[in-house]
Symmetry: C2
Subunit: 308 residues, 2 copies
């Protein structure tokens, strides 16, 4: 795996469910194919994928479906965050076998607070047990959900011991000062912002890219903004991205993104999140779609890809 | 299952690990036997059991070990909290099959905040899928760790729909006003305090008992205080319990409890928590044991039970 691969825009891929709330493998594979065609990588099994609402076996089965369908493992950064060491090791090893670019690894998120030494031990034990020098980890900082921050000191401890395995971080904390501290503090460390709102700024300071919820619905536009972030009109493109994101942010994000994919992709499997996340109320979803229509929002080719 | 069974003192049983950090089945079964002999029930797979640091299969394997050893399922209230609906259903169904008194069920604890409707849907879907009228749930309120409170409104919604299945709650929130609101508000609902500090008070207001970390180390004393909570000397007994708990609370609780069991039980499998929880530092553990010795603390019969 080269640094060339661990960069760019990744979508934390939404997970479709059938009428029994089981993952819909076929629609999942097709949606992933559409995202790849639109120019983004696949951060499957992230927060927006409802990964922690899936069992270990369900996640492994979907990973199998992607590789069986011939989707490029080098463009995947699957989430493997688990509270249990044994689960984190199993997911890490399976990803290593499948040849994915890296894994996006939450800290164990049940106990709070947990010491940096304890978190270091969890990551270290996972890395040692996977036991493969090609294994790459992208840390995942999302303290408002996980309750467990990835501190600068923890990163420093991990980089000192595992400089090639601990390859980068997704910063979903929403505080660019923290992102910048990592960009400035750790040379060669691949920093991804967790929202395209920070894309231009992150790239300007040497970032690796962006892993963002809205890359599920605006993949081509975000990928384009990434590729052309050095061009003079970058600010204008950033404003256009912010406008679409602003609409989705006014609603429960995961339910709103799923509703948009269901609507524009004409595919009911994306409509319903798994409990505990509720779907949008009918009034709310109608209001969302009306605003997207006014903004000229589209998902070209999606319904054709998801058909059948 | 009768109300008679779903009462009393339960220990959230500490989980022993061998040198490879795998659960030590044999020592686990023996420790559970000792706890039963001391007069407490088995709330295996709770927070203090590091249950969320175990994989689903590891938890099911330990449950099998207990039933294979002939420990009384009617005295067990295993934790089945999971972020994934499919895991919660599997754990619930296996417990129902094994005949345990009830399951202690955390809310799904990854997403925050989650609406009461979303949490209701998660519990309801689990109950419907387990699909057995004998299935009993004790809810688990521990917002400082889970990040997801069990509100009075959620309890009301669940009791209205599932009055026999939703049998009670463990309140580990540390706020007796919340405990009392549940005791006063829901007739017949089995309320367990999450610390023996509140035992006398909880029982005085019609509570069902106590599920407390320190029931791992002082089971007989806490069970005795429960049985005799109406006697005139209840306050004195409560003060004695508080003194021992006060010592443990001065240290990281799980590591301290495990160290005490390892020391008094002469069994190294209890010494080490699984990452991300760190063990006690040597200085700290020596100080803990010195304080326990001064307080005349003992765990009678434990080393004999754990030997061999």
């Amino acid at each position: 795996m080269s640094d060339e691969i661990l960069s760019g825009v990744f979508a934390p891929v939404l997970t479709p469910f059938d009428a029994t709330l089981a993952p819909d493998r076929q629609k999942f594979v097709r949606f992933c194919q559409w995202l790849i065609d639109q120019g983004v990588g696949l951060a499957v099994f992230g927060t927006n994928s409802e990964a922690n609402s899936l069992s270990l076996d369900e996640r492994l089965d979907l990973l199998d479906a992607l590789t069986a369908a011939g989707l490029p493992a080098g463009r995947m950064m699957p989430g493997t965050g688990s509270c249990a060491l044994t689960d984190a090791v199993k997911l890490g090893a399976c990803n290593r076998m499948a040849g994915t670019a890296a894994v996006l690894m939450l800290p164990p998120f049940y106990y709070k607070p947990v010491s940096e030494d304890g978190l270091f031990a969890f990551y270290a034990e996972t890395i040692e047990r996977v036991g493969d020098r090609r294994f790459k980890i992208c840390l995942y900082h999302i303290p408002q959900i996980s309750g467990v921050p990835i501190t600068l000191r923890l990163i420093e401890m991990l980089l000192k011991r595992y400089p090639t395995t601990v390859a980068g971080i997704k910063d979903s904390g929403g505080d660019f000062a923290h992102t910048k501290a990592m960009l400035d503090g750790f040379e060669g460390f691949r920093v991804f912002c967790g929202s395209e709102r920070f894309l231009t700024e992150t790239m300007r300071h040497g970032g690796a890219g962006c892993i963002s919820a809205t890359a599920n619905v605006s993949p081509a536009a975000i990928a384009d903004a990434f590729r052309r972030h050095r061009e003079p009109c970058a600010e204008g493109r950033q404003r256009a991205l912010d406008a679409i994101r602003g609409i989705f942010q006014d609603y429960p994000m995961i339910a709103a993104l799923k509703h948009a994919v269901a609507q524009y992709g004409r595919c009911d499997s994306f409509r319903i999140p798994r409990p505990p996340l509720p779907p949008l109320e009918p009034d709310t979803s109608a209001a969302l779609i009306a605003r997207l229509e006014s903004a000229g929002f589209a998902m070209p080719g999606l319904s054709l890809m998801l058909a059948g």
